[in-house]
Symmetry: C2
Subunit: 456 residues, 2 copies
């Protein structure tokens, strides 16, 4: 087996990750829908040998940030952007190696159209597509799809299981060698290598086959990000990459052990799932300079925006009535928006006795993800510790500002990772699976036929 290397994903919205990142002097918010700028960013990420470009997603304006728009202030940098699958299709045409993790919802999309667009993206990118499966817990999304309330979490997760199963059946509609293109006989494909899902489940009925041949990767890589019990079980069954928010080595190790321990019951090996915590990095050649970068961005958070960031946590309480530098108030948990991230941030506020301002600075930076401030050596020391002590197989990097934070990572952190032999110096393969060290899944119909043949 090749030496174990750190896997890296890059979260690079064209605005910025940090809520005030767009106000950074080098940021280009006016280019947030400029494809040329998106191409610059992906080329930087590919120069940094990232495994994948990762985009979060939702189906609403201000999906999980609460609303301050009505007050005349704006969280606009997170409100609008490209739709991820179309953006990634375009970016795949101008890159060769980097993978693309597009987020899409099992609650608000349909398995046929979702299976189809990801299969198409996998063909277009020659095997570099991944699907980050989300259940989209958001009232703002529900009201865009004719629902008065978002379905409860149990229902959403049950639907997610069935959704993924249907999508995998659709991706298996055509065996890898189904097409023969025989001009002489006129036969285009072998009908015995064509399979219709004939699926009738609790949530979906999908009878016919997908009108896209099997994706180059078999299935696009399945990614998952929920931290709840339901989320972990979904990940253990289906996910090949987990994006997770962890605050300490101990917590990350506990999560790592827990999720990896669930794989065996689904007949899976620990290596079949890569655990990649998110990390927001402020790096500079000196520790002082790095701290200045951190302080600069936090100083740019407008207090109204900061309060807006917390509105989803505040359970309907108007935080404006409080002094920003007083402790975060007690909350009625029943009023809090559904979501494991929100729960975690409230726990953090309590643990650290954060003031309102400290909490919104914390949330603004990386929405509850691990944040590191320091020199390349200091930061890589910590990444290495997590990687070598069963806390992480890699990391999803959340550059606080774009492009500055991304450039810093590629120019300062990547060389230090490489110097220590922790990270690739060139791409290993041509597909995302090959680069991540993941198996190509077999076609379930081929597998079933082989099992039948063995049994008889």
């Amino acid at each position: 087996m090749a030496e174990r290397k750190i896997r890296l994903g890059a979260f690079i919205p064209t605005t910025s990750q940090h809520a005030a990142g767009w106000r950074h002097p080098e940021s280009r918010p006016q280019d947030h829908l400029n494809i040329d700028y998106a191409i610059e960013l992906v080329k930087t990420a590919e120069r940094g040998l990232f495994d994948a470009y990762f985009l979060a997603d939702t189906l609403a304006v201000r999906g999980d940030w609460g609303s301050v728009t009505s007050k005349g202030w704006s969280l606009g940098d997170k409100d609008t952007g490209f739709e991820p699958v179309t953006l990634f299709a375009a970016l795949s045409a101008v890159t060769k190696h980097i993978g693309f993790v597009a987020t899409a919802s099992t609650t608000y999309e349909h398995p046929y159209t979702l299976a189809r667009k990801y299969a198409s993206l996998d063909h277009i990118s020659k095997g570099r597509a991944a699907w980050n499966v989300v259940t989209t817990a958001s009232k703002q999304v529900a009201r865009n799809f004719g629902l008065s309330e978002h379905p409860d979490a149990k229902t959403c997760y049950a639907q997610a299981h069935e959704f993924i199963e249907v999508v995998q059946k659709l991706w298996d509609s055509w065996e890898d060698d189904a097409f023969i293109y025989d001009k002489d006989s006129g036969q285009f494909f072998q009908p015995e290598k064509f399979h219709e899902p004939q699926h009738k489940g609790k949530f979906f009925e999908v009878q016919g086959a997908l009108n896209v041949p099997r994706p180059p990767q078999g299935y696009p890589v399945i990614v998952q990000a929920g931290q709840s019990e339901d989320g972990r079980e979904l990940a253990a069954k289906f996910a090949e990459v987990i994006f997770t928010a962890q605050q300490s080595l101990e917590d990350a190790q506990a999560f790592y052990r827990d999720v990896k321990g669930r794989l065996a019951k689904y007949g899976r090996h620990a290596d079949d799932l890569k655990i990649m915590p998110g990390v927001s990095i402020f790096v500079a050649k000196t520790a002082e300079e790095a701290q200045e970068k951190y302080d600069l961005l936090n100083s740019l958070i407008h207090p109204q925006v900061g309060l807006g960031l917390l509105s989803g946590l505040a359970g309907g309480i108007d935080l404006e009535q409080y002094d920003l530098d007083q402790p975060f108030p007690e909350l009625d948990e029943k009023l809090i928006d559904f979501g494991s991230r929100q729960q975690m941030m409230i726990e953090i506020a309590r643990k650290h006795h954060f003031t309102i301002r400290q909490l919104y600075e914390y949330v603004a930076s990386a929405r509850g993800h691990w944040t590191l401030v320091g020199t390349p050596e200091q930061i890589v020391d910590q990444l290495q510790e997590w990687f070598e002590h069963e806390a992480a197989d890699g990391f999803n990097i959340l550059p606080p500002s774009t492009p500055a934070g991304l450039n810093d990572f590629v120019d300062l952190i990547v060389p230090e990772l490489q110097r220590r032999g922790l990270f690739r110096t060139e791409y290993e393969g041509t597909t995302l699976r090959e680069n991540l060290g993941l198996k190509r899944p077999e076609n379930q119909y081929v597998l079933a036929q082989r099992n039948t043949a063995v049994a008889s």
Copy 2:
């Protein structure tokens, strides 16, 4: 006003348009999911100064071709391919001028996700996106979306009207100058230029705004292809391009007059809608050579495939029991699959007293579209006649095989069109609207505010 020019769309599936086109010696069926081949094709089309690359679409294998797969034969060349919006996003990244007409369904997609992907494609392509609105009359699609039957045509068209209205509201969510990106004040956009649709209709409830800024073209160009009474009315209200199947100058003129005559009642001008019949062209330097090209492709239609093509027309009758060279049998029209194209082809069979073989050759070529065989001069004579006598504002070219038929058009027909001053020698604008000579639609919320201001 600039001199009126012919508008051209190119239908270039990576397989071929003609059912036996993939068996043409130059065709590359093995590349039908190879993005590099798709890039070659779009670059050829852009060299030919086409206004747009057009792809039909359905959400099933063998959406409207009937099934011969079960018999061991295959219409495989029409069964699988890229999903159009993802393909066009990729192709837009490697082109500068050509537009992209992607087909999508108002019956099986949701307005929010559809509005979003087309808005994203319009940003990615810098204003070169178009949406071909279809209602998807297909049992094969219905069974992929949990429906036992496709909804009736009246319901589908009523839903289509509401769907387009919702999509246009979503595209108008942000006024063109809503974003100010003011780093100093921290204001990203002006909240008074942000509008939520708050739509509650018969088919859809969509409350929140789109999370993509207004498309560069205001709205992507709206294209429509139905020929029924319902289809014409939908086109008159919304469409800016009509793709239509017309067999004779007289029929084309009648259609042209009829549809253009319906525009005034929606406050629209005749120039606001471009009528572009489909035409399949077999061209060569001599008439004999052109005829040979036509005969070659027809000789490559496997009889089982030919019969499969007619299965949607045959109302359940097994055509195999008949001699292929006997007249097409009488049919029980009640058993025929819903669809104006099917109706038209049966009329054609009766009018020309076609045998079964002649009918499937006819269908195989261009599915009921006008077919021209001859020299560049002969063909352009006919195109010119339609263009100059109120039968067409342009044409959708259906090259019978790919790439040969496309290359022939670009190398032989385009120069002849240009020599006569009928077609551009360079692109006029940077957006599809500019090239087609279509107005950029105003934002409906801005318009409503202005009307309110005028009234008060």
